[in-house]
Subunit: 293 residues, 2 copies
């Protein structure tokens, strides 16, 4: 039924700013049992996001993308006001990837007067990014649950760069018995290894030059484990810290090695259940990255 | 399409103890766009519950009732362990009222190992019952959201005796953009005015004799407002307290006069937006009741 023309007929993408338009757009597809795929984003799209949209396009009859810079997940003094907003470019990218519906709500729609509800996943959000960003994951789970309520997707796509976020969202979905499948896709990287992120736009030339050292440090730890058999997490974390300190002018927020299922600190690498995660303040950005062992 | 025989063919009620049975039972109805009505209960059913089920039966093609005594909404030292459990009687009552599906999950199904998610409605749960039952409404909103996730009803029914609960659930549903309509039904009372409650079973003969004084006190305040034009909330609350103290051996937990929309204390009756709510420890029970002015 889909157009097979190269470049695909993209003129059909609908842009919705209100909930009723979303629901009425999706109602026929839902009635017909068509699979609805959803990619929630904060805009400033890059190849990481496009990978999610493409996977949704492959898996689903209907692809919904949302763009919403969610104030609830930014703390005081964080980058909410300067977070990149480039709607026209984002809209074109979504259209080019075959998005069917682009949902761009306003703050007044998402958090109207009298708004009072929060969704909290205990424990999983306490460590890693949660420690330096209190309230961040509560903001994420709340807005994601709201977006799920509006879109009611069959499947939703998240990037693995935000591993803690993905793990927390999976927990929330399981705990609240939400009938949506959560698919995570691998981190997409620049040629030099830097994990793609909308916040990379904050980096000046020198910081951008240094930034690949973060992933290189993770890979160095992986090599130490694989090739030298170093499984002690303190030693591996120190390898990462040393490499970042030696090769960047950044300030390390955390280097943590935790279990994938519970995000609990590990003494020793548990093969297949180990997340090595870092956050570094570098130039004007706070960058995060991770690998699995 | 429904049987019109008197007494209705009740042999068709399905009892489900797991989520997949619920979803597969409801899937055909959902595909056909049939309206699904849902009455969540903690069992120990009385006329109040039956009124909800009957309304659902009138409004909807499919009626789902759940029975689950939710541990999360009971505080330490509360009546979780002695809360009346009378499944066989409840099952028969549901069947007699034409329930299509009775969902009776276990604790292990609702809160499996590793469960970590809570839904919190801020402010609305701070006063009234929330003050003496910290965590109660968080338990209520969490389990109701989970049940909504499992059943995905079009409409759900709640009794007005638990006015604060109904107001909080409406807020949660609006805030989280859940596509369910919340219908509240008036408090059902015994002939002597006592609000029906599963907890009335805790009352011994003497406490049961005294219990109607709670509603009588509310009606006395209503009369003072209507007939004598007393609109000062302190005065009205005092009328209620005096009547309860004079006519029962109970201990008043609270008498509060608040706005219906925000549950904020009122100085003066705001006609159409006033909730007069009381809680009284009487004998072995904690009884609540309310009226609107």
């Amino acid at each position: 039924m889909e157009s097979q023309l190269p470049g695909r007929d993209t003129s059909v993408m609908q842009v919705a700013c209100d909930i009723e338009t979303v629901r009425s757009f999706l109602a026929p597809a839902r009635r017909e049992g068509k699979r609805i795929g959803f990619v929630p984003t904060m805009g400033a799209l890059h190849e990481g996001h496009l990978t999610l949209i493409r996977q949704a396009r492959r898996d689903c009859a209907v692809v919904v993308v949302s763009i919403y810079v969610n104030p609830l997940q930014f703390g005081a003094g964080e980058d909410f006001s300067r977070y990149p907003r480039q709607f026209e470019r984002d809209r074109e990218m979504c259209e080019r990837e075959g998005t069917d519906l682009l949902f761009c709500p306003t703050d007044a729609l998402v958090y109207p007067d009298g708004y009072a509800t929060n969704v909290v996943v205990e424990r999983l959000g306490d460590g890693l990014c949660g420690r330096s960003r209190p309230g961040h994951f509560r903001g994420v789970t709340t807005v994601v649950l709201k977006l799920f309520g509006i879109v009611s997707p069959d499947v939703a796509y998240f990037g693995w760069k935000d591993a803690q976020q993905a793990i927390i969202i999976k927990r929330m979905v399981a705990d609240l018995n939400i009938a949506v499948e959560i698919v995570t896709m691998p981190t997409v990287r620049e040629a030099d290894g830097l994990a793609m992120s909308s916040r990379n736009q904050y980096l000046d030339a020198e910081a951008r030059r240094q930034a690949p050292a973060i992933y290189a440090a993770l890979e160095k730890a992986r090599a130490a484990w694989r090739e030298q058999g170093i499984a002690d997490c303190n030693t591996l974390a120190q390898i990462i810290r040393d490499h970042i300190r030696l090769n960047t002018s950044g300030r390390i927020d955390y280097v943590e090695i935790v279990s994938l299922d519970r995000l609990a600190p590990l003494g020793c690498v548990a093969p297949g259940n180990t997340l090595v995660a870092v956050a570094v303040y570098l130039g004007a950005a706070r960058l995060i990255d991770n690998i699995r062992l």
